[in-house]
């Protein structure tokens, strides 16, 4: 590399020149775009290395437990950069999503030192944290000797940072006083509508604007599209049925999961708002959902959209993104639109799922593992995943502002960025944090299944559900 090119890269890394300026001048030196990109990445690595002792744990091996996910694939593809930066080695065990969390629970509950760091969601930390299985990462984040000066934790979207931190007091707000940082956000997803543009064009309908509108259009699709059904949502007997579109809509109708008073929780699923929303949701599934709804997970919801079996889905934006990729029949036909289910709401209130990295309390190499987590959630890797791989809901504001990333998405996934921008401002976790999260949401899904199957009326079913939840809260001493 010529000195001129090196200086240019240095200037760009230090932020002294703009990306556009850098592009113009490096081209003038006769260096192609791809080569320039490579030079720049190398400079970033050097810049990271220069300001911080990344080589401190040279020779150490960190063992990870990973879930089979495009976000993990993006990280694995970039591991050589980490090895070069730190001189450390990384080994990983990767498990299918179906069994991943069971594997995590098995490993942590047996206090196994086998894994140093692992992937998790925020809800899981509400169990793992109080159980004493996780390290509070505040002690690392606020230690200048352990965290690189350019790490810039504040660059991560504030709602995400807050969602991974909690004091452990049932009902206390996420990110509130005394909150511990149980995990570091790494990639996330929020909930909006992904739809089949062909079907919508064919029936001459526009993307839905709210839930009543959605039900009307979805019913029309089921009736008139000649095969496909209207709207895909999850329905299996699992917490995963509750947290995506369902809770986003629930929140939009002004309903909450709990009321908290004097440190005690009380279920609020029997509120008037909740009942009104449940009526609509149940009707939507009965009239325009998949026939096998009660067995539907993330996979079936996505599969139907990708194969043209459903008109739209109310689920993760990244699920709609994946289904627009090669290998799917409907690749290239998927459109995206934000939704505020309540016609009277000001805007969307999307719940979120955050794939995060957590540090095991039983690890024998915590400091070295923190180096890995720090790198995997750094600007540099976030940028790599977003530009080159499918880390398409990155956690850092600076990456969302990146023009290369924006151009790539806008080119192949029209509407995705706009949908994200409209949904993101009020996107956060709308559950009340408490360790019985999985009991509550699983019971909730089971109750929803009974309502959809018309085994119980909505209002009555919710009264029963509230009673069940309240009993479990009392048994655990938090209700």
């Amino acid at each position: 590399m010529s000195d001129k090119a090196r200086d240019l890269c240095k200037a760009r890394v230090a932020g002294r020149i703009s990306r556009r300026e850098f592009g113009k001048r490096i081209t003038a030196l006769g260096i192609g775009a791809a080569a320039a990109d490579g030079l720049l990445q190398a400079s970033y690595t050097r810049a990271m290395a220069a300001s911080f002792d990344w080589m401190k744990y040279k020779g150490t091996t960190v063992k990870l437990l990973l879930n089979k996910h495009p976000y993990a694939d993006a990280m694995i593809a970039d591991l050589d950069a980490f090895r070069a930066l730190t001189g450390m080695d990384v080994k990983y065990d990767i498990f299918p999503e179906d069994v991943y969390f069971d594997k995590v629970t098995a490993a942590l509950s047996s206090r196994s030192s086998q894994y140093d760091a692992f992937m998790t969601g925020a809800y899981q930390t509400w169990q793992y944290g109080p159980a004493g299985w996780l390290v509070d990462m505040n002690e690392y984040l606020h230690d200048a000797g352990k965290t690189a000066p350019d790490y810039d934790f504040e660059d991560m979207l504030p709602n995400l940072r807050a969602s991974d931190s909690w004091s452990g007091v049932p009902g206390a707000p996420l990110g509130g006083t005394g909150a511990k940082q149980w995990a570091i956000p790494w990639g996330f997803e929020l909930y909006s509508i992904s739809y089949n543009r062909n079907i919508f064009d064919q029936l001459k309908i526009t993307p839905p604007e709210n839930l009543p509108d959605l039900i009307e259009k979805a019913t029309k699709i089921t009736k008139d599209a000649g095969g496909p059904y209207g709207v895909g949502v999850r329905g299996s007997r699992s917490w995963a049925t509750i947290h995506p579109g369902f809770l986003s809509g629930y929140t939009n109708y002004g309903a909450r999961d709990f009321t908290v008073a004097d440190g005690k929780l009380k279920s609020a699923v029997d509120s008037a708002e909740s009942k009104a929303f449940h009526e609509l949701w149940v009707k939507m599934i009965q009239e325009a959902g998949p026939k096998n709804w009660a067995t539907y997970t993330w996979y079936q919801v996505g599969q139907d959209l990708g194969a043209g079996a459903s008109g739209m889905i109310y689920d993760a934006d990244i699920l709609g993104y994946f289904m627009n990729g090669a290998g799917n029949k409907e690749a290239g036909h998927i459109g995206y639109t934000p939704i505020a289910p309540n016609p009277e709401a000001k805007g969307p209130t999307s719940n979120i799922w955050i794939w995060s990295l957590a540090l095991s309390n039983f690890s024998n190499a915590k400091d070295a593992a923190w180096y890995f987590i720090q790198w995997a959630t750094s600007k540099q890797h976030d940028m790599f995943g977003a530009r080159k791989k499918d880390l398409v809901d990155p956690v850092r504001a600076s990456v969302w502002a990146d023009k290369v990333f924006q151009d790539r998405i806008a080119g192949s996934y029209p509407g995705y960025l706009e949908t994200y921008k409209a949904t993101a401002p009020d996107a956060k976790i709308y559950f009340t944090p408490q360790p019985l999260f999985f009991n509550v949401t699983t019971e909730w899904a089971a109750a929803l299944q009974r309502m959809v199957a018309k085994e119980v009326a909505v209002s009555e079913g919710l009264d029963q559900l509230a009673a069940t939840i309240n009993r479990e809260l009392r048994d655990a001493g938090i209700g």
């Binding site: 996910h69 694939d73 999503e97 069994v99 098995a106 047996s110 206090r111 196994s112 996979y299 499918d390």
Partner: protein, 283 residues
């Protein structure tokens, strides 16, 4: 001798039975030669252009999907399944056949209690044992070792072998062994030269069934071992990815994972039925 009408009834009953039990297998076999786009058609159709891409992906260890190349450890999973099942069955035979012989030939104090206790292990809910077991394995250093897994697999294979082989020994007349002993041969020689060879069909059949159950096990390895020691039952779930379920590969994985067992079953066919005659009284 037989009336034609019974023959027709018999034939059609068999045809229905074969249809019910083999149709899903046949469908899986067909799927293994299809792309995911062919599999996910509405309504399902028979016509498709066969492709070997699923098998190629499994055997070469690389699979191109919409979200980049997927590394597949299928062959390693298959190897783990073979290792775990063969070693578990072998260990069970070494431990179980002498014990079965003892229960069949000798009446001894607590004999029946020991036999029943062994059998009852087969029926302890696996989860009951599994949960604390991961903690104990951690202490004993057996976590994530093949040895530890083979030990746990004994819960599946040993009682089954014990029970079936015992029945077989009991049915064989002790007279030959007795005569051989009277000729001045040692107990051990009698056991290995006379008793075991006579019981071979029973041992083969029991071994095959135990092999099948070990092969199909899912939850033991999942909880106790790391990814590089997982059998195909867990490994094949890797085709369930966030970007879609790769049904073609799963179907091909099922086909490939059935083949070793099927080969074994066909080979052992002549002993299979004969050997399971537990409790039969031979003439």
């Amino acid at each position: 001798m037989r009336e034609p009408i019974t023959r027709i009834l018999r034939g059609s009953a068999l045809a229905l039975i074969l249809l019910f039990f083999l149709f899903p297998i046949l469908w899986i076999l067909l799927m293994s030669f299809q792309t995911n786009a062919d599999i996910l058609r509405i309504p399902p159709r028979l016509g498709f252009t066969p492709t070997l891409s699923n098998y190629v992906a499994l055997l070469s260890g690389k699979l191109a999907t919409s979200s980049g190349t997927l590394d597949i450890t299928f062959l390693r999973n298959l190897g783990n399944s073979l290792l775990l099942s063969v070693a578990s069955v072998a260990a069970s035979l070494v431990l179980g056949v002498p014990a079965a012989y003892a229960f069949a030939r000798y009446r001894f104090r607590l004999g029946e209690s020991i036999a029943f206790t062994l059998l009852s292990f087969r029926f302890a809910p696996p989860l009951l044992v599994l949960l604390p077991l991961s903690l104990y394995f951690q202490i004993l250093g057996l976590t994530d070792t093949y040895g530890g897994l083979i030990w746990v697999y004994q819960l599946i294979t040993l009682p089954l072998i014990l029970w079936i082989v015992r029945g077989y020994f009991e049915d064989a007349s002790p007279d030959i062994e007795h005569a051989y002993r009277v000729d001045g041969h040692s107990w051990w020689r009698t056991f290995t030269r006379i008793a075991v060879p006579l019981a071979r069909p029973g041992i083969a059949a029991a071994g095959l069934l135990a092999f099948i159950f070990a092969w199909n096990n899912f939850v033991f390895a999942l909880v106790l071992a790391s990814a590089d020691k997982q059998p195909v039952t867990v490994g094949a779930l890797a085709f369930v990815t966030a970007a879609g379920i790769q049904y073609g590969q799963i179907a091909a994985a099922i086909v490939l994972s059935i083949l070793p067992t099927l080969a074994l079953a066909l080979y052992a066919q002549r002993w299979l039925v004969e050997g399971l005659s537990l409790g039969a009284v031979k003439g």
